[in-house]
Amino acid sequence: MANTDEPSERHMPMAWIAPLSEAVADLVTDGDTIAMEGFTHLIPVAAGHEIIRQRRRDLTLVRMTPDIVYDQLIGAGCARRLVFSWGGNPGVGSLHRFRDAVETGWPVPLEIEEHSHAGMANRYVAGASGLPFAVLRGYVGTDLPAHTTTIKTIACPFTGEELTAVPALNPDVAVIHAQRADRRGNVQMWGITGVQKEAVLAARRSLVTVEEIVDDLDPRPGGVVLPGWAVTYVTEVPSGAHPSYAQGYYERDNAYYRAWDAVSRNRETFTSWVSDMDRRAS
């Protein structure tokens, strides 16, 4: 996850527009560090499913709020390591595949690197800023620093005050979902936009799935635009955030989140869910 310092590798005049399977095949390699972000809103679920379908292995998965798409990736055996700050099925309960991997090592043992939201957000900010670390007031008095090696103290060179330092995140690939892009790959999202911009800018390569590709991005209140030259691939995937929501397109499918609890609770029902992926997709 070192920064390669090769600007030429990091941008191009515009993003490539390609089908999802092609983009994932080109971007994601076994052993990569992948950050898929989206804070309740605009979670790149379809892209996650494509990674499962392509049977990627040994991934380091990074995400502030691993929820069911990460549960699916972990249960399908794609991950060997998880970097995160809160893992659950929001409003429902536990992630059973995540717990099974952590508690019993099924289907493969899952190493974890655990932070707080503030720490993870700042690690992406440092990554997006080309800095090796970020400074925050965080973790003080908690047991996290005893179990996470990527939390250290740092002294202010002016006041001597001790603060906390966390290293930059520079994933190999960032994957996000947005409402729209234009034909040059300029990406527009609005509503809750979380840490997605930082994740893309921190990563070496990026994939943005969008609800639709349009001729022109008319300005939107609250709209965040990522220029196409800062993005590697853009892919049109309508409903690509389902069962999360895409403001202006569709609501959150709360029933899916509730139903996931039963599907994921035991290994057999989960395994048949994975086997059925291709059938459901067609």
Binding site: P90, R99, V102, V140, D143, H147, E251
Partner: protein, 264 residues
């Protein structure tokens, strides 16, 4: 906490233990406050406060919404209704760095899987960290909410499994090992000033920082609270009985909860 709302108080049979917990939590909020809201019980209580005695209460959610005025109870911390009704929607790094960290938020509302006598909170693991009995969701925003908000209110159901002598993992610091610990570490907020449960209210003893039962809900006796606590629970000399929810508070709360179950 013990202020008597003007509307008529309901009898214990008229409300559930969760309802009096939520109503009591809502009364901990005043209109001129900013409140950092976690999802679940804290969010219900904060939204109830905004619809009853604290219409100007400013709700901040960690998804990046400042001043949300949700028309229905949000189902998640990143619910669309929070963005649509906010004064401003900002990025997640900004909510933590510009708004929480500098001490701009008056009160943080947290839940807990385990809580100890010094108000330390565990939401990480039950058992050993590397070989856990139960792997819980983890920290989320809580460590820095607990450190940086002016004060913290914890809303949690009281059971011996939850109220433990010593948390298995300190996810969010309360008073640490006791008086002076927060100050030695340089934490800016005052820490947990109130723990509101389905049985009563606990507050830190000013001298020892130990959580002490200061109020029981109507119909709850001290013995029941002691049985639901994993440490030898101290009881305040001036123990009071929580004011019962008023019928108007209950009506607003129930209407609010209905909005959450009616999916849009």
């Amino acid at each position: 906490m013990t202020a008597q709302p003007s509307a008529e108080a309901a009898a214990p049979a008229d409300y559930t233990a969760d309802e009096i917990m939520t109503v009591t939590a809502s009364r901990a909020l005043r209109g001129e406050m900013t409140c950092f809201v976690g999802i679940g019980l804290p969010s219900t209580a904060a939204n109830l406060a905004r619809r009853t005695h604290a219409p100007d209460l400013v709700l901040v959610y960690e998804s990046g919404t400042l001043g949300s005025k949700p028309t229905r109870l949000p189902l998640s911390i990143g619910d669309g209704v929070l963005a649509e009704t906010a004064d401003a929607v900002i990025s997640v790094p900004e909510v933590f760095n510009y708004w929480l960290q500098p001490g701009r938020i008056d009160v943080g509302f947290l839940g807990a899987a385990q809580l100890d006598r010094f108000g330390n909170i565990n939401t990480t693991v039950v058992g050993d960290y590397r070989d856990p009995k139960v792997r819980l969701p983890g920290a989320g925003g809580a460590p820095e909410i607990a450190a940086s908000c002016g004060e913290v209110v914890v809303v949690v159901r009281q059971t011996p499994r939850t109220f433990v002598e010593r948390v298995d993992f300190v996810t969010s610091m309360g008073y640490g090992t006791g008086p002076g610990h927060r100050e030695r570490l340089g934490l800016r907020g005052r820490g947990p000033v109130r723990v509101i449960t389905d049985l009563g209210v606990l507050e830190p003893d000013p001298a020892t920082c130990e959580l002490t039962l200061t109020s029981v809900h109507p119909g709850v006796d001290v013995e029941r609270a002691r049985e639901a606590t994993g440490w030898r629970l101290a009881v305040a000399d001036d123990l009071t009985v929580t004011s019962a929810p008023t019928s108007s508070e209950l009506n607003v709360l129930r209407a609010l909860v209905r909005t959450a179950t009616e999916e849009p």
